[in-house]
């Protein structure tokens, strides 16, 4: 009897309080505030060479893991040409995440800029061929050219140019490399494509003229050289 009275009293007193306070769990709302996602970085807001965040690797509201911060540090160090320090950081990242192909490729680039072509080549050889695309194809080809491994470099340049036919700088690399292999007709064909895109490029025209000379096409070479003097 007594206990049911107490229950009724409690019910009566707690009902208004429940109505007022229901749905305001302070801890829950606080948690929602704390876990609130960091706004994404707008496209194009960062300088081209500093890619910064990897939004797909860090979920909103999640703590940023050390290896991600270290990877970003490695990149920033490379922007200011502190290549040695950058490589040390890449090594630490790859020690923790050995399967991180993107970091391997970046490290190879830094090694290349540092002038350590052998180490860069060694790193890139660990990258699965299907992962070597775009700029990395060019880097790999450049490294192979430095080792005079021209036949291995050629398909890489060509594969890159299929996707980037407007990249005349890479086409020039291919044209020159073909000339060193005495593949004059193929080389001259590439030079012609470059000159079609850049008819006023005197330097390219001179190189073209030299390849014509090496190919025994002296009259054509003279005509091209004359154009560079006009």
């Amino acid at each position: 009897m007594k206990s049911s009275k107490v229950r009724c009293l409690l019910f009566a007193c707690l009902l208004p309080a429940w109505v007022c306070l229901s749905g305001t769990p302070a801890a829950a709302s606080e948690e929602a505030t704390q876990k609130f996602p960091i706004p994404p970085i707008p496209q194009g807001a960062s300088p081209p060479e500093s890619e910064g965040v990897k939004p797909d690797q860090v979920k909103p509201g999640e703590d940023i893991p050390d290896w991600v911060a270290r990877w970003e540090l490695a990149r920033v160090l490379s922007y200011v040409k502190r290549y040695g320090e950058s490589i040390v950081e890449y090594e630490k990242v790859l020690k923790e995440k050995p399967g991180l192909t993107e970091a391997k490729i970046e490290m190879a680039k830094v090694l290349f800029w540092k002038g350590d072509q052998k180490a860069a080549s060694h790193i890139l050889e660990q990258v699965p061929p299907k992962e070597i695309t775009g700029d990395t194809q060019v880097l790999m080809a450049d490294l192979l050219v430095a080792q005079k491994a021209y036949p291995r470099a050629e398909p890489l340049y060509k594969a890159y140019l299929e996707g980037h036919p407007e990249d005349q700088a890479v086409r020039l690399k291919l044209a020159e490399m073909l000339s060193w292999q005495k593949k004059y007709d193929a080389s001259l064909a590439e030079f012609r494509k470059i000159l079609e895109a850049r008819p006023d490029d005197i330097q390219v025209r001179r190189r073209y003229a030299f390849v014509l000379i090496w190919a025994g096409k002296h009259a054509e070479a003279a005509a091209e050289l004359k154009k560079t003097l006009d």
Binding site: A32, G52, D66, A69, L73
Partner: protein, 160 residues
Amino acid sequence: MKRSALTASLIAIALLTTVAYHLLKPDWVLFRKAENYFSEMAYAEAIPFYTHLLKSGFETPKLLNHLGTSYVATGQFAEAETIFENILKKTPDKPSAMKELANIYVAFGRFKNAIPLYQTFLQRHPQDRSVRILLARVLSWSGRFDEAIVEYRKALGEKK
């Protein structure tokens, strides 16, 4: 007989108190509704309640903070910016508002505005490594690479 009368009167008191509360404190009732939505992360539903309350002059720091957060969650950054700037005008030392406003500035690419906010936040919370990494990123995006390196090192617990 006595017992049932007592029970009935207690229930009546409870109901009357509830009704009276709704009549006398309608703003608080709306605020609780908004807070309900907010805690359920139903930000779009919470916003009209918060804005209605603001228009009627019901303004608390929590309401402003949650409204700002709801705006960010629903991608209404301009509105969120106004709210958090308002909070910081009233309470310049509010770290959560500093962080949120800095994040909004970053979303708009206004890195110059974000940097001092993150820096002030870190003066009060030097151990917050996530914010330090955000600062490092923003410094990097601003081309201030050397400063970014210092912040990354600090975030990684290295003094160099």
